[in-house]
């Protein structure tokens, strides 16, 4: 509606001068103004959609950073800890009774291990910086907390004399999942992700590249290759949860591989990544000009020599870029992993691809469903870690492309 209105008003306003131009200028185009307005509107729409998309991203990132930053700090308190046989046996007795509701259960639980590591602690009482529980930690960070007044007074006293402070949270990077919020970390998920992705790449990269080389360099255009091509493109669009079902049926039920292991997870994600690698590798091979191949044949090289020594090195940056993008997609995937049991409570870091493991997005998913408030910041911090790894992977892809790219 507004479009027509502005049109008619501008026409009437300019009508007198227009007449003049019309007579003066033989190239006068009466629809010019309308077309310019259209172009401006179109540009406005494109800019608006970019702004819209960016504001979403900024909002999301801002929200994550504001929520997640506190997780990189953790509260510690300076109190006397008594180490002797009695307290090793019943660790609650190692600290004054009034601190029992303040100190973290997970810290007390570790006392026997600490004494075992450092036997000189035995039969001494030492002022130690101990980890406090998540309620006190939430109080220190200015979040909602639930502490009984009796204990809150102790906490405030300690804070006033500087014996309660926030420190960098090393636990977040050195521990696995935990049901005690202050004891939980992302280490086992990071290791699980790395092991899973190693398996994924070992399977998907060579298979994908070889398939692409065959389809691009060796195969003749026939009914069968076309069928394969359609299927590969189709596979790239399949919902990832179906790969999980396939993984369950084939790798776990048929081959009897261990449930929840990075081996099964990696193989399943490899199936999912394979089409992406094939498609991008084929595009990279296709962009190598035919003159290179013909020059090779002209010198009497065999097909394999041409592909291996001339086409592949030139196509490699493109293949790497596609593979890294496929890898980062596999890294953020959770849906297929639910089915094969990788979304579970697995606090121990896996030491081989046969042990149970969880991955980073799964860890974030688990934390997001926890009732304790302290997990909100951990969820956001986990997202920050995952995003920064993804960004560095993608930056690596861009760097590789720029560095080795050849312009024809």
């Amino acid at each position: 509606m507004t479009y027509f209105k502005s049109e008619s008003s501008s026409v009437s306003k300019l009508s007198s001068s227009q007449k003049k131009i019309k007579t003066d200028n033989p190239f006068y185009d009466p629809s010019l103004q309308k077309r310019h307005a259209q172009a401006r509107r179109f540009k406005f729409l494109t800019v608006a959609s970019i702004i819209f998309a960016i504001s979403f991203l900024v909002f999301f990132l801002g929200d994550m950073i504001v929520k997640g930053l506190p997780a990189f700090q953790q509260s510690y308190m300076l109190i006397d800890v008594t180490y002797n046989e009695k307290t090793v046996d019943s660790t609650r007795k190692a600290i004054d009774k009034k601190y029992r509701r303040i100190v973290s259960r997970s810290w007390l639980r570790d006392i026997p291990a600490m004494v075992e590591q450092d036997p000189s602690l035995m039969n001494t009482t030492q002022a130690t910086w101990v980890l406090v529980n998540h309620q006190v930690d939430q109080y220190m960070k200015g979040h909602y907390y639930k502490i009984k007044n009796k204990y809150l007074n102790i906490v405030k006293e300690k804070q006033a004399v500087g014996e309660l402070e926030l420190r960098f949270n090393t636990i977040f990077f050195t521990h696995g999942d935990s049901k005690i919020p202050e004891n939980s970390g992302i280490k086992s998920a990071i290791i699980g992700s790395i092991l899973t992705l190693i398996v994924t790449m070992i399977i998907a990269f060579p298979l994908g590249v070889m398939t692409a080389v065959y389809l691009e360099e060796f195969a003749h255009d026939s009914y069968w290759t076309q069928l394969i091509e359609i299927n590969i493109n189709n596979l790239a669009a399949i919902p990832s949860i179906l790969f999980g079902l396939l993984g369950l049926a084939v790798f776990i039920n048929l081959f009897g591989m261990p449930r929840s292991s990075p081996l099964v997870g990696g193989l399943t994600l490899a199936l999912m990544t394979l089409p992406i690698i094939i498609v991008s590798a084929r595009a990279a091979l296709r962009s190598v000009p035919d003159s290179i191949r013909q020059a090779g044949y002209g010198l009497g090289l065999t097909k394999i020599q041409v592909v291996q020594d001339h086409v592949m090195p030139l196509a490699f940056p493109g293949i790497m870029t596609g593979s890294i993008i496929g890898l980062s997609q596999a890294m953020g995937e959770t849906a297929p992993l639910i089915i094969i049991g990788m979304i579970a409570f697995i606090p121990d870091s896996p030491s081989s691809i046969f042990q149970a493991a969880t991955v980073m997005p799964a860890q974030i998913f688990t934390w997001a469903g926890m009732p304790e408030r302290a997990y909100i910041e951990r969820t956001a911090a986990g997202i920050m870690v995952l995003l920064s790894i993804l960004i560095s992977l993608n930056a690596l892809a861009i760097y590789l492309r720029k560095k080795f790219e050849v312009n024809w």
Partner: protein, 356 residues
């Protein structure tokens, strides 16, 4: 190319290794599956077990009660789970499936209660509901004004159901059909009442095949008043804090963690507290279970110790660790009876399940 050669050999070794691991018999790591409601409790115990013993931490998977039973009853092989958690009792159908697959020696443990909270934004005035109010608010078909026939639910405001209730729009955020909390809500609020109401059951008696659904009517209305809100209870809490008119249905542990934002409505005169739930005065609560596969006890030596740790007073007692995250302890007597039965590895029989 070198790269491809090494990659191929790696594939080969992986395949060989994969085929050998199947033969491993004894297992140090316990495998637990089952209900998402029991999952936080089970994994808390698992963590404690991993941290205080030399055994590795059990793997706890949250598959839902039904999904857990399916995996558990698949057989006695070492690749099947050792323990399954459930937020309801094992069904006779599931027991028969277990039996068919050779899983006959099962021990049942009850660990406590879980309350289902009906809550609203804290700014609101206290809300006193009854089970009947809730039924009339969520059912697809409700008794007409004269109580003689069923009509489509047209209640849009609470005071239309009962004049004593506030003049507020009915908006209910609750669990989706896949959730165990939804099952429990339907069982206790809907089926429990409709099976005793002639207006529903008379329809069933008239035509037992066609009107099968009216025997224990539990159809939830789909006109946007009841909003299924995903498995994540945190989401429902967030929605309640943004929408003061709404009420939400979720697990008790989410209520105690968020009592700055939301408050519970009373149901039949009682607020959900550990005492009212444990004594059964608060009407919407359910027992939580886990089932152990005794045929695995030899090959998975850690199992007995894990179960013993779980049943300890430090864990499931009224002041135990699990009470801090929302588990409601069984009454003392029942607790010691269950503990004794678990210690003896009492075999579960079909009779146990069929009697109520």
């Amino acid at each position: 190319m070198m790269l491809q050669k090494s990659a191929l050999s790696l594939i080969a070794t992986t395949a060989i290794m994969a085929s050998t691991i199947n033969m491993v018999q004894a297992r140090d790591q316990i495998r637990i599956v089952g209900s998402s409601t029991v999952y936080p409790f089970s994994s808390s115990v698992a963590e404690e077990f991993g941290a205080t013993t030399k055994h590795s931490t059990p793997v706890v998977e949250s598959t839902g009660s039904g999904g857990g039973m399916k995996l558990f009853c698949k057989g006695n092989g070492m690749d099947t789970p050792d323990i399954t958690n459930a937020s309801r009792r094992m069904k006779t159908k599931e027991f028969k499936l277990c039996e068919k697959n050779g899983v006959t020696d099962i021990t049942e443990s009850v660990i406590g209660f879980d309350g289902i909270a009906i809550a609203q934004n804290k700014q609101n005035k206290a809300l006193a509901l009854t089970k009947m109010h809730l039924l009339l608010a969520v059912a697809e078909e409700v008794p007409s004004k004269d109580g003689k026939s069923l009509v489509k639910n047209s209640y849009k405001r609470w005071n239309e159901i009962d004049a004593s209730l506030p003049d507020r729009e009915i908006t209910i955020y609750g669990p989706p059909t896949s959730s165990g909390t939804r099952d429990a809500f339907e069982d206790m609020i809907m089926k429990g009442q409709t099976k005793k109401m002639d207006v529903y059951t008379s329809l069933y008696k008239k035509d037992k095949v066609k009107n099968k659904g009216y025997k224990k009517y539990h159809k939830v209305r789909q006109d946007g008043v009841y909003i299924p809100s995903g498995e994540n209870d945190n989401l429902i809490v967030q929605k309640l804090s943004k929408n003061p008119a709404a009420i939400g249905i979720f697990g008790y542990s989410f209520l105690i963690e968020n009592d700055d934002k939301i408050s519970a409505a009373t149901v039949n005169g009682f607020k959900p507290t550990p005492e009212t739930i444990s004594s059964g005065k608060y009407p919407i609560s359910r027992s939580l279970f886990f089932y152990t596969k005794n045929s695995h006890r030899k090959e998975v030596p850690a199992m007995d110790k894990y179960v013993a740790l779980f049943m300890k007073e430090d864990m499931i007692g009224p002041d135990g660790i699990l009470s801090e995250i929302g588990l409601i302890a069984l009454p003392d007597e029942r607790r010691s009876a269950i503990r004794a039965s678990v210690e003896k590895h009492t075999k579960l029989t079909l009779d146990d399940l069929s009697k109520k």
